[in-house]
Symmetry: C2
Subunit: 419 residues, 2 copies
């Protein structure tokens, strides 16, 4: 690996910090707002705080089927000594009840129905008995507001229900529907150009000659981009040619819909050199990070031109994907403006099935299979040479060996990042 001596290998954390110090977030976010139809807003990120304009449910609502009444009329009621109440009517769903409940009276009500004036509780159907057409027995007391959702109990008017940066889950979409938000302010989706470089790379529809391989990275990285909720722009294959690469990157920088560029490969020494030249030339500021303390993923480049990040990824598909998951995805999260949350990363705990040696001094990603044995989940390291794609396809996930760990022991508890 030829690493430009001006750039020393650094950790992911340090590399990202340099990027964050160089990127003008304020300018970037000044122009990212748009509206989304609520129906298409799943996993979109809110660009503004959402304030409730109404109380929800907006009226005192029964949570059960039963009789609305005055709680005080049921105090002391029991099977042996029931309370007798006159039934003065039935609440129809969606109607504003015109009835007024006085002491000694009750009205029939369904789950979701609106309590009439004067009522302050609902007794469940199963604790009542019909005596005749207009009379019931209540054989259990109810407390004030029992079985009632009060008008502002779910959501209070003027409450902030979601903060800017919240990414919307199905139940959040439901809550916004409750409040009547047909269109909501979200950040624009991020457009990401994907470029594969290398004289040996051919389109996937061709039959590679010996020495050539099909363009795996455009497809695998495009799918990763989609999985993060961004839009992939497939720019195809650029031969190992400095002028062609600079021309292509300049084109991408000019296009408004492209916010970020991923360049994978080329794997020859010469191509790495001219990629570095092109990125420096395209700046400012140009190359921020060259070489990360990662395995695989060492030759990663983080560059910035016209406030668009350009990331140089290794040519090996497995390396490119692991760098995507551990470096690119973090830059994307920044650009999405998303508040971190549990559930954004899928992990599972398992015991390591065999010892793993590591050189230390770099973060190492070990692909693993998961296997259940004696009701215990085991992570089985998958070995395979660098440059293989099948190992990644066979894996259920990967574990990390930290910078300052010299390996992991058999039987140790590990966190598996699931694919």
């Amino acid at each position: 690996m030829m690493v430009n001596p001006l750039f020393k290998l650094m950790t992911i954390v340090d590399g990202l910090q340099i990027f964050r110090d160089s990127f003008d977030y304020k300018r970037y976010f000044a122009n990212r707002n748009e509206e989304s139809d609520l129906k298409y807003a799943l996993r979109r990120v809110l660009a503004e705080d959402i304030v409730a304009m109404e109380n929800i449910p907006g009226f005192n609502r029964s949570t059960v089927d039963g009789y609305a009444l005055k709680a005080s009329d049921t105090f002391g009621a029991s099977g042996g000594l029931p309370a007798y109440l006159e039934v003065t009517g039935e609440i129809k769903m969606s109607e504003i009840p015109s009835l007024l409940i006085r002491s000694g009276q009750a009205v029939q009500i369904s789950t979701g129905g609106m309590l009439p004036e004067g009522a302050d509780a609902v007794v469940m159907l199963e604790y009542t008995e019909k005596i005749d057409k207009t009379m019931i027995e209540v054989n259990r007391p109810v407390a004030a507001w029992e079985n009632v959702l009060k008008e502002d109990e779910d959501i209070k008017k003027d409450e902030i229900v979601f903060k800017k940066g919240h990414s919307l889950r199905p139940q959040d979409i439901g809550l916004l529907a409750a409040l009547g938000w047909e269109n909501i302010p979200v950040y624009k989706k991020i457009g990401i150009a994907i470029i594969s470089t290398g004289d040996e790379i051919v389109p996937i529809y061709s039959l590679p000659k010996r020495g050539q391989v099909r363009d795996i990275n455009s497809y695998a990285l495009g799918a990763e981009v989609e999985e993060t909720g961004c839009i992939p722009y497939y720019r195809g294959i650029i031969a190992d040619n400095e002028i062609a690469l600079e021309e292509e990157l300049s084109q991408c920088l000019k296009q408004n819909e492209i916010d970020m560029i991923l360049v994978s490969g080329g794997s020859s020494v010469g191509s790495r050199d001219y990629t570095l030249r092109v990125l420096s030339h395209l700046g400012p500021p140009g190359i921020l990070v060259h070489g990360l303390a990662l395995k695989p993923g060492k030759p990663t480049i983080i560059s910035l031109s016209q406030q668009k990040p350009i990331i140089g990824l290794p040519g090996h598909p497995a390396s490119a994907l692991l760098v995507f998951k551990n470096v690119v995805s973090k830059i994307i999260a920044d650009l999405k403006g998303e508040i971190p949350r549990y559930g954004l990363v899928k992990t599972i705990e398992a015991l390591l099935e065999k010892n793993i040696a590591s050189e230390g001094g770099k973060e190492e990603f070990i692909r693993v299979l998961l296997k259940k044995k004696d009701n215990q989940l085991w992570a089985v390291p998958i070995l395979g040479k660098s440059g293989m794609i099948s190992t990644l396809a066979k894996a259920d996930g990967y574990i990390k060996v930290d910078l300052n760990q010299e390996g992991l022991y058999k039987g140790e508890k590990v966190t598996v990042n699931l694919f």
Copy 2:
């Protein structure tokens, strides 16, 4: 809750078994195959086994930058006693090398380059020294096939690389690209009709009168449907009217793109009764399950007409969503034909922050917040009345209290299903 006495409350497992025994999977899957462009195949489910038509990489490929040579020429080489080799050329990427390596010779090669005839190993650049234009020193021995990915080492021709039912992750898309699959056989996406019922339900663009609520379920369930990779068909709101519901369901059953129907609400006693009548009437076989031992979610209905599942969900949004995640999603998984896999469900382990009492005899879903305290993750139960949507929006996930558990204790380890 009025439960038809013919149908006793049953567990989710038993309820699903009844569905599976009644559904004609063979007929269903006979007509589900279609082709997908590989670029749009993320998370699609393979409808056939995928067999490799070629070896990958297809040629002996260097995994490092260095010199291709005969391993035997380096045996015994060391810093003190290096092997001297004649450099006869350089391998250009993507070219079939015309050179033949004989004993005592080496050619320069880049990562990804094709080994020339006669070479059986690559020595890394850093273990060599240039003596002059045509001569190098090798100061470390390499084993046969060291730093080489052999032509069929990644994928072997005729190997099954993915089984029918595999859902495609980014790296799987990459592997299919490597093999040249531009279009792949997948199962059709599942179309799911979504119907909200209830006189009190109004469209989200209206200002509800007192007693009315906006149509939360269409939006929240539509988002859930999307999240499972299916296509939601929003059918809108049907008033509490037996004829209107039967007409709407008949329409849905006639449409080819609709494979399944979700009906949520109505919450009034009367509407539940006529929903049951309509579903029985639409059979055969009609209603399979009415009432599940769930909390929330007891009034769930599983029905089947013309081989299309019709699921009756509770009207309360929180209940409807939890039933979706625990019942509907399992039927969807069956209909997707997807092989179960780690990572399809997001979970995390936490300690329970307070005791939870449960009546037993039903599966109970408790919404929780996650909180880190003293480097330990805690699951904090969220309390709130039934019918609230905000509790679900505040939750990070939920835990399950099993049928035969009478609660959970503070400090107990629980598995949180993340939203």
